[in-house]
Symmetry: C2
Subunit: 205 residues, 2 copies
């Protein structure tokens, strides 16, 4: 029985700490993380294929035309996108792969790949999200308000996710996301071939 891997899409409120959750899933549980492509210039220390696949604008647009992205977006004159090739290769090899992307991209992935597992990381409350942003001390009031406005947009599509995980305690949150992924592959819909094999075997008794 050759089972496909699970395409895991993780989004969440801006500032909720989803990057940390994803990093721990990769380092502690060995999940593969999809590497995005971008046209922005590499920063010091960034390695092609590790932080990003660095491309020039022509290459990126060419890949868009060929349907080479699961989702892509333009932000401050640069393109960012999820190349389809590496993701599909991992899934076909039976490996789960995580995409950490924004809500709009997530909706696009779900449309193209309905069996994707969509997980939304939420704060326990908007008050706690604000407190978290304030306590970081790295952002001024205007930026915080901007992030919270963005949360308003993000919240509109929250109920289109398969699972909502509340990041109140980081350890618990990471374990819950891991449980969701692990359990997901046992869904009946993921085991139709196995069920058929069992039924075929039983016919011979």
């Amino acid at each position: 029985m050759n089972k496909k891997g699970t395409l895991i899409v993780i989004s969440g409120f801006s500032g909720v700490g989803k990057g940390t959750v994803v990093k721990r899933l990769v380092s502690e549980y060995g999940y593969n993380l999809s590497v995005s492509a971008t046209t922005r210039a590499p920063r010091e220390g960034e390695v092609n294929g590790r932080e990003y696949y660095f491309m020039d604008k022509g290459e990126f647009e060419n890949l868009i035309d060929y349907g080479g992205f699961f989702e892509w977006t333009q932000y401050v004159e640069n393109y960012y996108g999820t190349p389809r090739k590496y993701v599909e290769q991992s899934l076909n090899e039976g490996k789960d792969i995580i995409l950490e992307i924004e809500v709009m991209g997530a909706m696009s992935v779900k449309q193209q790949y309905p069996e994707a597992l969509l997980i939304f990381i939420a704060a326990p409350s908007i008050k706690s999200l604000r407190d978290r942003l304030v306590s970081r001390g790295t952002e001024n009031e205007a930026t915080i308000v901007k992030r919270l406005k963005k949360a308003t947009e993000e919240a509109c599509d929250m109920d289109k996710y398969d699972y909502i995980v509340i990041n109140d305690n980081l350890d618990v949150c990471v374990e819950e996301v891991n449980s969701i992924i692990r359990g997901y592959s046992c869904r009946c819909a993921n085991n139709l071939q196995f069920i058929q094999e069992i039924k075929d075997e039983l016919k011979e008794i």
Copy 2:
């Protein structure tokens, strides 16, 4: 936010070892196990309310008439059933509760309580189920064939379960079932009240 517990229904092939899986879920992860009611006489060492709720026939039939059972069945002149009261009380207190019941009972529970989580424990193959029954050495060939015939009936409804877990390695199986239960409570459908609260909070920004 007052979250209801999850009603977990565990079934599986006769002889697959689901009793052992359930025992470990209770002892290692602290899940509550629903206690069945029966009209059969208590055996030595059995305690009312621990192994079973022991009732006389009149009491049991009275409870059937009052809709007091989630599911019940008659087997060799005795009744067996899942009393609704204790299960509903646990769920309302936010506690998850496990019902280890047969396929027909499981289908009945799902009909009455669609948010129930149905997990089917399968053997890796029917051949391995037969090998397992043979190696136990406690059953003769006729009984083994009877169990496998029963598996044929059980397999018919396998695809109506939410999750299929293969009991190849007991430790892995127990962990997978625990992951499924843990992840299940994060389903979006279980968090609609939370999503509404977040949206309400965001309106005020």
